[in-house]
C-alpha cells in the first residue's frame, strides 16, 4: 500500500493545476483543500477568493466553511456577496474556478440540483450556489469529482452549470469552460474540436479500463495517456497539515 489514497491523489493533482499568481475562486470541499494545498506548496502567491466575499484570503488553517472568520480576518478585502458576483466573478476577474459535481456528462455539464424531475425530485441536492456564474465566467474551470457510473452519466438530469452544452457546441460564455476534470482515477480533458471529455492522464496504479468502468458513457481515451506523478513527500506533508488543521503563518 502506498501512504496516500486515491482521494489524496485527486486533491494533489488538482492543486498542481493552480499556477502561482492565479486568482482562484474556492468552494467548499475538495476545491478548498486543493487551493490551500497549492498555496502551501508550489503556488504561494496564488490569490484565494471565496464567494463569501473574502479577497486574497490567507487562511492559517484549512477553513471548515467558506465563511470562516479566518478568511475575513486574513483577507486583503471583504466585499458583499452582490459585489463579489457582479464585480469579481461576473466581470471575469477569476482565473480559475474549482467546481464539484453530483453528476457530470460527457460535455462537462454539471448537475448539483436534483436527481429525477425538478418539480418532484427523487433526490434533492443542495443546488447551484455560486457555480453557474463561476462555470461561465472563470478563465478556466477545474472540476474535481470522484469517478463512478452514477456520477459520470450520459446526460445530467438537470444542468446546474454549463460545460460545453448538450452536444458540446452550445457553450455561450466568456470563460474557456471545464478545461480539466480531475477524478480519483485520472484526468479528463475536452477534445479541442468536439469538447467531448477524454481521458488524458491516469493516476499511479489506475488503468484505463478502471476509468472506463467508472464512467457511465463510452469514455474516449487519448492516443497517448500520460502518467500522473505520485504525490511528493512535500505534497503529502502539506496535505496532512491541512487535514489536521495545523496552522501556518498567513
Amino acid at each position: 500500500m502506498s501512504d496516500w489514497t486515491s482521494a489524496d491523489m485527486m486533491n494533489v493533482a488538482a492543486a498542481r493545476e493552480l499556477h502561482d499568481g492565479d486568482v482562484c475562486l474556492v468552494g467548499v470541499g475538495p476545491p478548498n483543500l486543493a487551493a490551500n494545498l497549492a498555496r502551501r506548496t508550489h503556488a504561494p502567491n496564488c490569490r484565494l477568493v471565496y464567494e463569501s466575499g473574502a479577497i486574497d484570503a490567507k487562511p492559517k488553517k484549512l477553513p471548515l466553511s467558506i465563511g470562516d472568520d479566518d478568511l475575513a480576518a486574513t483577507a486583503i478585502a471583504v466585499v458583499s456577496v452582490p459585489e463579489m458576483f457582479n464585480f469579481w466573478v461576473g466581470a471575469g476577474r477569476i482565473d480559475v474556478g474549482f467546481l464539484g459535481a453530483a453528476q457530470i456528462d460527457r460535455y462537462g455539464n454539471i448537475n448539483t440540483t436534483v436527481i429525477g424531475d425538478h418539480a418532484d425530485p427523487k433526490v434533492r441536492l443542495p443546488g447551484a450556489g455560486g457555480a453557474p456564474e463561476i462555470a461561465a465566467a472563470a478563465g478556466r474551470v477545474i472540476v474535481i469529482v470522484k469517478q463512478s457510473p452514477r456520477t459520470f452519466v450520459e446526460r445530467v438530469d438537470f444542468v446546474s452549470s454549463v460545460g460545453y452544452g448538450p452536444t458540446g457546441t452550445e457553450r455561450d460564455a466568456p470563460g474557456a469552460g471545464p478545461t480539466l476534470v480531475i477524478t480519483d482515477h485520472g484526468v479528463l480533458e475536452p477534445d479541442p474540436v468536439t469538447h467531448e471529455l477524454t481521458l488524458t492522464r491516469l493516476h499511479p496504479g489506475v488503468t484505463a479500463e478502471q476509468a472506463l468502468a467508472a464512467t457511465g458513457w463510452p469514455l474516449k481515451v487519448a492516443d497517448s495517456v500520460q502518467a500522473v506523478p505520485a504525490p511528493s513527500g512535500a505534497e503529502l506533508e502539506a496535505l496532512r497539515g491541512l487535514r489536521n488543521r495545523e496552522a501556518v503563518d498567513a
Partner: protein, 279 residues
Amino acid sequence: MTSPVPLADAIAEHVHDGDTVALEGFTHLIPFAAAHEIARQGRRHLTLVRMTPDLVYDQLIGLGCADELVFSYGGNPGVGSLHRLRDAVENHWPHKLAVHEHSHAGLANAYSAGAARLPFAVLRGYRGTDLEEQRDIISRVTCPFTGEELAAVKAVNPDVTVIHAQLADRDGNVMLWGITGVQREAVLAAKRAVVTVEEVVDEFPEHTGAVILPNWVLSAVSVVPNGAWPSYAAGYSVRDNDFYQEWDAISRDREAFLAWAAANNLTQVANEQTAATHV
C-alpha cells in the same frame, strides 16, 4: 425605532403568518435565536428566502413553518445534506415545500434590485442552465445599446428581513462586520427589518468592511447575546462546527428531530405537527 425590545415582542409584532421572510447571513451572523422565536410563536405558511438555507431553515422547514423556499444553495456546508429540507421536498413531510431556486449571483442581484425598489436586475448569469426554466423569476433582457441578451431576475422584497449583528448604539443604529454577505441588501429590500445584536455600545468602533444601518430603516432591535449560535459573530464567538456535524444525525431521522425540537422548547409547534402527520 430607538430602544431595544424583547425578541419575543419584535417577532410577534413584525413576523406574521403567510409573510415572505428572509433570515440572512452567509455562514456568519445567522440569526438562529430569532428563527427559533419564529418557530416558538408557531408562525405558518411562510415563504422563506435565503441564499444558503443552512441549518436554520432546515429547522423551520422541519417544524412546518414554511410553504415555500427561495434559495440558491441548500446544503450543510462541508457536512452534506439538509435532511429536513430534503424530506419536505422529496416526501412532503411535514408537508409539501414549493421551491424557487436561483444561483448565488441571481439571488444576490434579486435582493439588490429589491433594495433599489427596481422590479428586476440584470446580470451575466444562468446561460445554458436549466434554472432558466423558472421563467417567473429568471428571464432575459436585451441590451438597448449592443443588442446582447442578458439574464434578468425578478426582485425579491421580503415582508420582513431578520439579521443578527454585533452591535447597536444607543440610538438603535446597527453595525456588523466580518463576512457581511447580502445582509445590507436584504434589510433594504424588506418592508420591515428586525435585528438581533450581541450588545449595545455608546459608540461604534472602527472596522474596515463594516456595514452600518441607520435606525430609520429598522423596525426593531433586540439584544440577544450569542443569538447566532451555532453560527458565529466575529469578535464574539466561533462557529460551533461540532453542532453542524451533530445536526446531520439529528435531522436524518424525523423522531430524533422532533425530540430535539421538544428539548429546545419548540414543542408547541412540533406537537401540532406530529398530530397533523398522524391524522
